[in-house]
Symmetry: C2
Subunit: 117 residues, 2 copies
DNA sequence: TGGCTATTTTTCTATATTGCCAAATATACA
DNA sequence: TGTATATTTGGCAATATAGAAAAATAGCCA
Protein backbone atom coordinates (compact mmCIF):
# COMPACT_ATOMS: atom_id res chain seq x y z
CA UNK A 1 0.00 0.00 0.00
CA UNK A 2 2.31 2.67 1.42
CA UNK A 3 2.24 5.58 -0.97
CA UNK A 4 4.73 8.38 -1.51
CA UNK A 5 3.70 11.75 -0.19
CA UNK A 6 5.10 14.90 -1.72
CA UNK A 7 8.89 14.90 -1.20
CA UNK A 8 8.54 18.19 0.65
CA UNK A 9 7.13 16.25 3.59
CA UNK A 10 10.18 14.00 3.62
CA UNK A 11 12.53 16.95 3.64
CA UNK A 12 10.75 18.80 6.39
CA UNK A 13 10.29 15.69 8.49
CA UNK A 14 13.98 14.84 8.35
CA UNK A 15 14.84 18.15 10.00
CA UNK A 16 12.28 17.64 12.76
CA UNK A 17 13.53 14.10 13.21
CA UNK A 18 17.05 15.38 13.66
CA UNK A 19 15.76 17.74 16.33
CA UNK A 20 13.76 15.01 18.03
CA UNK A 21 16.38 13.79 20.44
CA UNK A 22 17.10 15.28 23.86
CA UNK A 23 20.86 15.41 23.40
CA UNK A 24 20.56 17.03 19.99
CA UNK A 25 18.07 19.53 21.30
CA UNK A 26 20.52 20.40 24.04
CA UNK A 27 23.26 20.84 21.46
CA UNK A 28 21.05 23.10 19.37
CA UNK A 29 20.32 25.34 22.33
CA UNK A 30 23.94 25.41 23.31
CA UNK A 31 25.05 26.34 19.80
CA UNK A 32 22.48 29.07 19.81
CA UNK A 33 24.32 30.67 22.69
CA UNK A 34 27.69 30.31 21.08
CA UNK A 35 29.64 28.08 18.74
CA UNK A 36 31.26 25.08 20.38
CA UNK A 37 33.72 22.35 19.53
CA UNK A 38 33.02 18.65 19.99
CA UNK A 39 35.08 18.50 23.13
CA UNK A 40 33.19 21.36 24.79
CA UNK A 41 29.89 19.70 24.10
CA UNK A 42 31.13 16.29 25.20
CA UNK A 43 32.05 17.66 28.59
CA UNK A 44 28.69 19.32 29.02
CA UNK A 45 26.73 16.27 27.95
CA UNK A 46 28.71 13.56 29.66
CA UNK A 47 28.39 10.89 26.96
CA UNK A 48 31.22 9.33 25.03
CA UNK A 49 32.81 11.71 22.55
CA UNK A 50 31.95 9.36 19.71
CA UNK A 51 28.30 9.56 20.65
CA UNK A 52 28.38 13.33 20.62
CA UNK A 53 30.22 13.34 17.33
CA UNK A 54 27.53 11.15 15.84
CA UNK A 55 24.78 13.42 17.08
CA UNK A 56 26.59 16.35 15.51
CA UNK A 57 26.78 14.53 12.23
CA UNK A 58 23.04 13.93 12.32
CA UNK A 59 22.52 17.65 12.85
CA UNK A 60 24.98 18.45 10.10
CA UNK A 61 23.36 16.09 7.61
CA UNK A 62 20.00 17.63 8.26
CA UNK A 63 21.47 21.03 7.53
CA UNK A 64 20.89 22.42 11.00
CA UNK A 65 24.51 23.12 11.85
CA UNK A 66 27.73 24.07 10.11
CA UNK A 67 31.22 23.08 11.09
CA UNK A 68 34.46 24.89 10.64
CA UNK A 69 37.90 23.74 11.51
CA UNK A 70 40.01 26.27 13.37
CA UNK A 71 43.27 25.34 15.00
CA UNK A 72 43.08 21.88 16.43
CA UNK A 73 39.32 21.82 16.90
CA UNK A 74 36.19 21.72 14.81
CA UNK A 75 33.68 24.36 15.76
CA UNK A 76 30.01 23.82 15.21
CA UNK A 77 27.45 26.55 14.95
CA UNK A 78 23.75 26.80 14.38
CA UNK A 79 22.85 27.37 10.79
CA UNK A 80 19.32 28.76 11.14
CA UNK A 81 18.69 30.16 14.60
CA UNK A 82 14.98 30.39 13.84
CA UNK A 83 14.65 26.80 15.02
CA UNK A 84 14.94 28.15 18.54
CA UNK A 85 11.58 29.82 18.01
CA UNK A 86 10.02 26.37 18.15
CA UNK A 87 10.54 26.12 21.85
CA UNK A 88 7.78 28.49 22.85
CA UNK A 89 5.27 26.44 20.95
CA UNK A 90 6.63 23.16 22.31
CA UNK A 91 6.12 24.51 25.80
CA UNK A 92 2.57 25.46 24.88
CA UNK A 93 1.91 21.89 23.81
CA UNK A 94 3.37 20.56 27.04
CA UNK A 95 1.44 23.04 29.15
CA UNK A 96 -1.81 22.30 27.35
CA UNK A 97 -1.28 18.64 28.04
CA UNK A 98 -0.49 19.15 31.67
CA UNK A 99 -3.72 21.09 32.05
CA UNK A 100 -5.62 18.40 30.24
CA UNK A 101 -4.22 15.81 32.64
CA UNK A 102 -5.20 17.93 35.59
CA UNK A 103 -8.76 18.29 34.32
CA UNK A 104 -9.07 14.56 33.89
CA UNK A 105 -7.77 14.04 37.41
CA UNK A 106 -10.12 16.65 38.83
CA UNK A 107 -13.22 15.34 37.17
CA UNK A 108 -12.42 11.92 38.61
CA UNK A 109 -12.08 13.48 42.04
CA UNK A 110 -8.38 12.76 42.26
CA UNK A 111 -6.36 15.18 44.35
CA UNK A 112 -3.33 16.47 42.49
CA UNK A 113 -0.25 18.11 43.89
CA UNK A 114 0.16 21.76 43.02
CA UNK A 115 1.80 21.99 39.60
CA UNK A 116 5.58 21.96 39.45
CA UNK A 117 6.77 25.33 38.28
CA UNK B 1 28.52 7.05 30.59
CA UNK B 2 25.28 8.39 29.12
CA UNK B 3 24.00 11.01 31.47
CA UNK B 4 20.50 12.35 31.97
CA UNK B 5 19.89 15.79 30.60
CA UNK B 6 17.19 17.95 32.11
CA UNK B 7 13.84 16.17 31.57
CA UNK B 8 12.62 19.24 29.73
CA UNK B 9 14.76 18.17 26.79
CA UNK B 10 13.10 14.77 26.78
CA UNK B 11 9.65 16.30 26.76
CA UNK B 12 10.38 18.76 24.00
CA UNK B 13 12.22 16.20 21.92
CA UNK B 14 9.34 13.76 22.06
CA UNK B 15 7.06 16.29 20.39
CA UNK B 16 9.57 16.98 17.64
CA UNK B 17 10.08 13.27 17.21
CA UNK B 18 6.37 12.78 16.75
CA UNK B 19 6.44 15.47 14.07
CA UNK B 20 9.47 13.95 12.38
CA UNK B 21 7.69 11.66 9.99
CA UNK B 22 6.38 12.63 6.55
CA UNK B 23 2.99 11.03 7.03
CA UNK B 24 2.49 12.61 10.42
CA UNK B 25 3.56 15.96 9.08
CA UNK B 26 0.98 15.60 6.35
CA UNK B 27 -1.67 14.74 8.93
CA UNK B 28 -0.76 17.78 11.00
CA UNK B 29 -1.14 20.08 8.02
CA UNK B 30 -4.39 18.47 7.05
CA UNK B 31 -5.80 18.80 10.55
CA UNK B 32 -4.80 22.42 10.52
CA UNK B 33 -7.16 22.96 7.60
CA UNK B 34 -9.98 21.08 9.25
CA UNK B 35 -10.67 18.22 11.61
CA UNK B 36 -10.71 14.78 10.00
CA UNK B 37 -11.63 11.25 10.87
CA UNK B 38 -9.30 8.29 10.42
CA UNK B 39 -11.05 7.18 7.30
CA UNK B 40 -10.71 10.58 5.60
CA UNK B 41 -7.00 10.63 6.31
CA UNK B 42 -6.51 7.03 5.24
CA UNK B 43 -7.98 7.79 1.84
CA UNK B 44 -5.74 10.82 1.39
CA UNK B 45 -2.61 9.02 2.49
CA UNK B 46 -3.09 5.68 0.80
CA UNK B 47 -1.59 3.50 3.52
CA UNK B 48 -3.37 0.83 5.47
CA UNK B 49 -5.88 2.18 7.93
CA UNK B 50 -4.04 0.49 10.79
CA UNK B 51 -0.90 2.38 9.86
CA UNK B 52 -2.73 5.69 9.82
CA UNK B 53 -4.37 4.88 13.12
CA UNK B 54 -0.99 4.22 14.63
CA UNK B 55 0.41 7.50 13.35
CA UNK B 56 -2.56 9.25 14.89
CA UNK B 57 -1.91 7.57 18.20
CA UNK B 58 1.69 8.78 18.12
CA UNK B 59 0.44 12.30 17.56
CA UNK B 60 -2.12 11.91 20.30
CA UNK B 61 0.40 10.55 22.81
CA UNK B 62 2.70 13.46 22.14
CA UNK B 63 -0.17 15.83 22.85
CA UNK B 64 -0.30 17.30 19.37
CA UNK B 65 -3.83 16.26 18.52
CA UNK B 66 -7.11 15.62 20.27
CA UNK B 67 -9.77 13.15 19.30
CA UNK B 68 -13.46 13.23 19.77
CA UNK B 69 -15.95 10.57 18.94
CA UNK B 70 -18.99 11.78 17.05
CA UNK B 71 -21.43 9.33 15.58
CA UNK B 72 -19.61 6.38 14.15
CA UNK B 73 -16.32 8.18 13.55
CA UNK B 74 -13.53 9.59 15.62
CA UNK B 75 -12.54 13.08 14.62
CA UNK B 76 -9.02 14.33 15.16
CA UNK B 77 -8.01 17.93 15.39
CA UNK B 78 -4.84 19.86 15.97
CA UNK B 79 -4.32 20.81 19.56
CA UNK B 80 -1.80 23.67 19.19
CA UNK B 81 -1.90 25.16 15.72
CA UNK B 82 1.30 27.08 16.48
CA UNK B 83 3.26 24.02 15.32
CA UNK B 84 2.37 25.08 11.80
CA UNK B 85 4.59 28.09 12.29
CA UNK B 86 7.57 25.75 12.18
CA UNK B 87 7.22 25.28 8.48
CA UNK B 88 8.58 28.64 7.47
CA UNK B 89 11.76 27.99 9.39
CA UNK B 90 12.06 24.45 8.06
CA UNK B 91 11.89 25.87 4.55
CA UNK B 92 14.60 28.34 5.47
CA UNK B 93 16.83 25.47 6.55
CA UNK B 94 16.15 23.61 3.32
CA UNK B 95 16.73 26.69 1.21
CA UNK B 96 19.95 27.52 3.00
CA UNK B 97 21.16 24.03 2.32
CA UNK B 98 20.22 24.12 -1.31
CA UNK B 99 22.22 27.32 -1.70
CA UNK B 100 25.16 25.80 0.12
CA UNK B 101 25.09 22.87 -2.28
CA UNK B 102 24.99 25.22 -5.22
CA UNK B 103 27.97 27.16 -3.98
CA UNK B 104 29.98 23.98 -3.58
CA UNK B 105 29.04 22.94 -7.10
CA UNK B 106 29.93 26.34 -8.51
CA UNK B 107 33.30 26.59 -6.89
CA UNK B 108 34.16 23.19 -8.37
CA UNK B 109 33.14 24.48 -11.78
CA UNK B 110 30.13 22.23 -12.03
CA UNK B 111 27.25 23.55 -14.06
CA UNK B 112 23.97 23.33 -12.18
CA UNK B 113 20.49 23.52 -13.56
CA UNK B 114 18.53 26.60 -12.57
CA UNK B 115 16.96 26.02 -9.18
CA UNK B 116 13.59 24.37 -9.10
CA UNK B 117 11.08 26.80 -7.77
C1' DT C 1 -29.61 -10.71 17.25
C1' DG C 2 -26.77 -10.30 13.19
C1' DG C 3 -24.34 -7.83 10.03
C1' DC C 4 -22.06 -3.38 8.84
C1' DT C 5 -18.82 0.29 9.42
C1' DA C 6 -15.10 2.64 11.83
C1' DT C 7 -11.29 2.21 14.55
C1' DT C 8 -7.80 0.14 17.46
C1' DT C 9 -4.87 -3.58 19.01
C1' DT C 10 -1.97 -7.42 18.28
C1' DT C 11 1.46 -9.76 15.92
C1' DC C 12 4.95 -10.15 12.78
C1' DT C 13 9.01 -8.75 9.88
C1' DA C 14 12.15 -5.56 8.29
C1' DT C 15 14.69 -1.69 9.17
C1' DA C 16 16.63 2.23 11.81
C1' DT C 17 18.53 4.33 15.91
C1' DT C 18 21.24 4.74 20.04
C1' DG C 19 25.33 4.38 22.63
C1' DC C 20 29.59 2.51 23.72
C1' DC C 21 34.17 0.65 22.65
C1' DA C 22 38.07 0.22 19.79
C1' DA C 23 40.42 1.60 15.87
C1' DA C 24 41.39 4.90 12.30
C1' DT C 25 42.34 9.61 10.80
C1' DA C 26 43.95 14.16 11.02
C1' DT C 27 46.65 17.69 12.72
C1' DA C 28 49.61 20.35 15.72
C1' DC C 29 53.92 20.72 17.66
C1' DA C 30 58.27 19.49 20.11
C1' DT D 1 59.88 11.60 13.32
C1' DG D 2 57.31 10.75 17.35
C1' DT D 3 53.68 11.98 20.49
C1' DA D 4 49.63 14.13 22.14
C1' DT D 5 45.10 15.99 21.04
C1' DA D 6 40.68 16.23 18.50
C1' DT D 7 37.45 14.04 15.88
C1' DT D 8 35.35 10.49 13.05
C1' DT D 9 34.38 5.69 11.70
C1' DG D 10 33.26 0.83 12.11
C1' DG D 11 31.30 -2.72 14.69
C1' DC D 12 28.13 -4.56 17.83
C1' DA D 13 24.13 -5.28 21.05
C1' DA D 14 19.99 -3.41 22.66
C1' DT D 15 16.05 -1.08 21.64
C1' DA D 16 12.66 1.43 18.88
C1' DT D 17 10.00 2.26 14.78
C1' DA D 18 7.27 1.45 10.47
C1' DG D 19 3.96 -0.97 7.88
C1' DA D 20 0.78 -4.57 6.82
C1' DA D 21 -2.35 -8.27 7.87
C1' DA D 22 -5.40 -10.32 11.01
C1' DA D 23 -8.05 -10.21 15.05
C1' DA D 24 -10.56 -7.54 18.48
C1' DT D 25 -13.69 -3.76 19.90
C1' DA D 26 -17.50 -0.57 19.55
C1' DG D 27 -21.50 1.53 17.89
C1' DC D 28 -25.35 1.56 14.54
C1' DC D 29 -29.33 -0.10 12.27
C1' DA D 30 -32.41 -3.40 10.04
Amino acid sequence: MEQKLHPQYEARASILKAMGHPTRLFIIEELHKSERCVNDLTEMIGSDVSTVSKHLSVLKNSGLVLDEKRGTSIYYRLCCPCVLDFIGCLETVLKTNAEKQMNIAQCCGIKTASPVR
